[in-house]
Symmetry: D2
Subunit: 418 residues, 4 copies
């Protein structure tokens, strides 16, 4: 579940390229970045009670408390244990509990059972965080130059990793609250970010050979590499995201009851789950409401549709007589500035299966498990969402989920071919 733009974008610009800055300034930079990102996690969790933080509502989600501990384990395992002289594992029982899927990093607790672990509790996880925070900060601030060169890349990926979990923390707690018939609000004052008005406008995607993938020395995940050429046909991409208003038209036109609009696996899912609208929607006295971070709210027609699966996005595109873009088309359009709201509202499903770029090879060791082993059965999403942390998005970024997933902040825009 990658996310992230270079953290350096938060900076004033005095440092780029950071690698050329003095070690002292680099230490200051990473110490500060570490403090800020770690603080954002705690700020997001701060609205939640101990009870909120322990529950796991389905195998795909994780408890808040687990997220807070897991990202801490990441720093402890990959940064402190190998690089902080004399560092001792905070609690010998934690690596088993808080390793997620890194087989090379040792045995781990079963993912679907994370919600059964009441101890350590939220407060104890807070103490674990504080302990690791102090050790990381001390390591950064006291590292000699040789150590700096080794540890800053690990700090960097650790922070990007934590930012990914910041987004999941919100999507997961929303799923928890959506199971509660009393519809609790994560933040009663929350509102959906404003989308650009739909002007029915298009951007013309230039055909020909384009380079795809992350360029330059900024931070990126391994799945964004290698940069490679692709051949695009001419296409017209919509400037706007698909809105709730359009989605209601799709529904009114039999969108959820017309099998010819659906992929076969999608139709099976619609029937098995009884889907009749986007995730978290329910009809009360003839009006549609959606469960949001502010609790149950009337559906806002002008907002982009959210919490739709790939199957639904694909059916909608077929109904509209258009297509989902490929991830390559999306990336080219993003670089060309052809889209509104590419970032910051909803992730946008593409019709590209998540696959390695030509020449991709996962790194050896535990960190090589970060992305590569998930390159099957999932579809790529591009852009970023309202839950993506500040400064954490880029054109080459590849997010991915199974085609039936709906609990992320996922929407779509369309493309067609002249």
């Amino acid at each position: 579940m990658p996310t992230a733009t270079s953290l350096r974008k938060d900076e004033t610009g005095h440092l780029p390229p950071l690698a050329k800055a003095s070690w002292q300034r680099q230490r200051a930079y990473w110490s500060d970045a570490f403090r800020r990102v770690r603080g954002e996690t705690e700020a997001r969790a701060g609205r939640l009670s101990p009870e909120d933080q322990v529950v796991q509502s389905m195998p795909d989600t994780s408890p808040t408390k687990w997220h807070r501990a897991h990202v801490t384990w990441f720093f402890e395992t990959f940064l402190l244990a190998p690089h902080a002289p004399g560092y001792k594992i905070y609690d010998a029982r934690f690596p088993f509990l808080f390793n997620s899927y890194y087989v090379a990093a040792g045995p781990r607790h079963a993912r679907p059972k994370r919600g059964l672990i009441t101890r350590p509790n939220a407060e104890e996880v807070g103490a674990y965080r504080a302990h690791v925070d102090a050790a990381v900060t001390a390591l950064i601030e006291q590292a000699d130059e040789e150590t700096c060169a080794k540890i800053f890349p690990i700090v960097e990926i650790g922070l990007h990793h934590e930012q990914q979990h910041q987004e999941l923390l919100l999507t997961d707690i929303l799923h928890v609250f959506a199971q509660n018939p009393t519809n609790p609000a994560y933040d009663p004052d929350w509102t959906m970010p404003q989308a650009q008005p739909d002007k029915d406008a298009f951007g013309n995607l230039p055909s020909g050979i384009h380079n795809i993938g992350h360029v330059g020395d900024g931070f990126h995940f391994d799945n964004e590499k290698p940069v490679h050429p692709v051949l695009l046909q001419p296409a017209r991409i919509e400037r706007h995201l698909v809105t709730n208003m359009l989605w209601l038209e799709f529904m009114a036109d039999g969108g959820y009851t017309t099998p010819a609009l659906w992929l076969s696996d999608g139709w099976t899912q619609v029937q098995a789950e009884g889907w009749d609208g986007p995730g978290y929607w329910q009809q009360i006295d003839g009006q549609w409401f959606a469960m949001t971070l502010a609790g149950l709210q009337p559906v806002d027609l002008a907002s982009p549709v959210c919490h739709v699966s790939y199957y639904e996005a694909d059916a909608f595109a077929r109904w509209a007589g258009k297509h989902l873009p490929t991830e390559m088309e999306w990336e080219v359009a993003a670089r060309a500035g052809l889209m509104d709201d590419a970032f910051g509202l909803v992730w946008q499903w593409t019709r590209s299966a998540y696959a390695p770029y030509p020449g991709y090879r996962a790194a050896p060791g535990a960190l090589g498990e970060y992305n590569g082993k998930f390159m099957i059965n999932q579809m790529v999403l591009r852009g970023s969402s309202l839950a993506t942390p500040e400064g954490h998005a880029r054109e080459s970024y590849r997010n991915f989920f199974y085609p039936q997933a709906r609990w992320q902040f996922t929407g779509l825009r369309l493309v067609d071919y002249p």
Copy 2:
């Protein structure tokens, strides 16, 4: 899951029969009993963090927080709503969340999803309890005589009901903790109550016609009635409970690997679950440990075996060349004082299927759902356990669980026939 002896047994004896005491003394009695039982629930929950209280580890168990709220809903629904003038439901959302299985009392939340409800949280449930406590106490203390006659039986069943949940609160949290690889202790100082030493002694059960069922005007559940005659054959019942030492002999002799010892459904269960010892047992470096209220502890040879299912109890009896007693044999033996440790250590499986006594008919209305509708597919247990609240056990008491259940404090004693 009935439990309870008459609460009146806690009393000094000045009151029996209570119905003859002055209304003023009765008010004082029930007010005090209410305070004591309610306090015991909070005392049992008091060792648990908010996180501990919210988790549900399997569909059969319930969160601590749910237990605390459900027993409160019971008083609110069956006592305050119909009998306290002007009483308003504390929170309109709670009846749906905290009704257990009383179809006649309205719709209710799905049992297997109780652990997904983080709000109201433990503290808010505490406030709910305090509110209802005040209202019940005021109702008792201010009731006129006519009202007293109506409400004291409801108070009484409400308290027995709460005592049943006090036992479940412990069995359920033990199950939660047993899912945690760190083996948390509910109470580090807890120890198993001491059993009477096994003297290999027997009591001779007199053959002939005996009356079975609850006699007299003390409190009882409807499933203990009507009193009715049964015909017993002569039998010898063991004075002692089956111990861990004996159970280890059974295991060493191939108890869990010899299909001929098992009921067919039991053997299927053994293989499906991979059982090789009682519930919560695990072998570490050749020694057996058991997860207990004090965390993981070495198995104590002299203690009665605990957390065995009916299937295991039945297989053990076959291995021993004996039988489990019928519930009638157990009750006659209990009245005759033929057994040690009949109460207070482990519930004892009988070979009687849970069925209505001749002439039994469940009461109309929601309280009629208390027992009758569970009279299928379950086996009767007699006695009481270490978790049964003080003064809450009697000879005619009928507990019942499915034959595969192991998370209760369940053991056995044997009988044979000369």
Copy 3:
């Protein structure tokens, strides 16, 4: 799934007690009985195509071809292999395929996968039967007196066993055909046997101590022993079986939509399976039809209701303000001639859980697995059904099925208590 009356009842009466007849006459008797029972199996299978004979429609049922082979394996394993000099197993692969549940007789194929075995096919199973028939007949006819004494009891239980499978052959193929939307008929000319008209009459069951269990030296299964005394209260048992007409009243009165009528597990089943009438019933244009051995037929009001589960029988009794009888009451009533249609139409659910009689102990060895290991989670049925072979029923006979089972020919009669 026991069934059977003494086969000797088919006899003229010259032989009783058979044990006193000359060996020559006994040989002739058993040879003839063997030929007749084996022939009845083939006659029942004779209406079925090879395709009909191979399919298994759920784990509880078995293919016709399997039934034909399994009963043959029974004779081969328990009679020929130990007692026929020089007998060689017909096909070394068959014992694995055709052992049902006799753990002591060796490993066996998984029950739910019996329908995946296309080879040996029906014709090859016919050849297997012919081979074993010849060997058994030769053994019987050539046995010396000592051998006769050993083998006749095995022949006898083998024939009773085969008769049980004759009944299952019909119930199982009806279930297969009920899965087919074209509603095939096993026998287009089949009709339900005529029931005695319902005269709203009762038999008075005498209270007091009665002996229960099989008396005398005739054939019986081990679960009918020991004979033992039971104490009955006075009761009135209905002469007639509950009819379809009454069942339609129950349905019209909300029988399948009123949870208060149902055991909790039964109500769960009703909702999970969407039951709204007896098994195999469907409503077409407002009229109720039932899938029968003659295909889909209009429901006959005067016939006894059939294909109801224990849960349904129990709910009906509650609705009617009466009870199902205990198996002891049924047996006493049967001996006293208080019931019409006790045999030959539908098995009658009792409210007795299937349990060992006092003092029962299963025999050692494979044949000891016949009954004893199923004595849990099942309810006793008494009488016999339209599918029970001629001469195969007796007052002490105990049939048993899980409370949710509906594919047998199962109905009910009621009792009440003055």
Copy 4:
């Protein structure tokens, strides 16, 4: 599950392009092609007993009898009903039973329950086939020119469709027989076709822009269109298929026990299913055997590995330090003659997810459901297998299965990048 090369390739060459031949010659051609293809289906089924033909061993497979009837229904529904004057549906119950997944063609029987339908039986399906054969032949031979122009494309797709089911008929019956512990042989004389010896040779795939997709007016499925350009990087593709010898090296080197070699979903599958070798392999006394169309046979080292899933193919490629080719690379290599055994032994997994070609849009109506709605969650295979009918393979052909599927004749070849 597409397959097929143009049937016209079977012809002498006098006809191409067929569309220019006289109508009379076209009638003769199609009448003959129809007779030949229909005959091949019956020849393949002819080795099977009625019992063999009725069983369904898992939801993904279908009974032989169903295949024979379904392809017949296809001609009846799409050819005879709309185009044969006065044609009446042979049996009104068959369209429901033998429609596979064409929602637009009406309701249909549940796929996983096809094996429960014993009637119509194999013989009756034979009669259905004969009836439809006669009607189709008469239609072809008597059609006027206008009708010919309409019906020949339907005959053509109907025959390609039937050829696809001819392959499935074999893969499905092999799966049925593999469930049988007696290991039946479909054809005792069957042998795996000989592969070209592995000379460790490579073909150099030219980089640059290539056209992909079916060119010309020959038969093809809609998923092979539109022809479109793709950009390839330089690559080296192996001439030979991966053999059993190499696969045993992979196994010996911990292939099935090293999670780092596997996609995450693949590793989950390995553990859930206990895979330790290709599908249908079992080890007996240290030697590996495989269940084949000739029954259980020792694994032949020189043969291409078969019955491996995508997950296994992908893990093998990672172990070998190479890759599976994309479907575009495979197609370009095929056209350039760079591979041995591209056709006729085993389908070859590619690393391309099954997706529409740019500009693809499924046709309206039932036949539009043929391919398009399956374009999710599946991986493309190229080439053809030993079970693919004669003359039924082409370079642009796209087969597709879920990544866990193993019951098809599936293998692989590798590619790497210089």
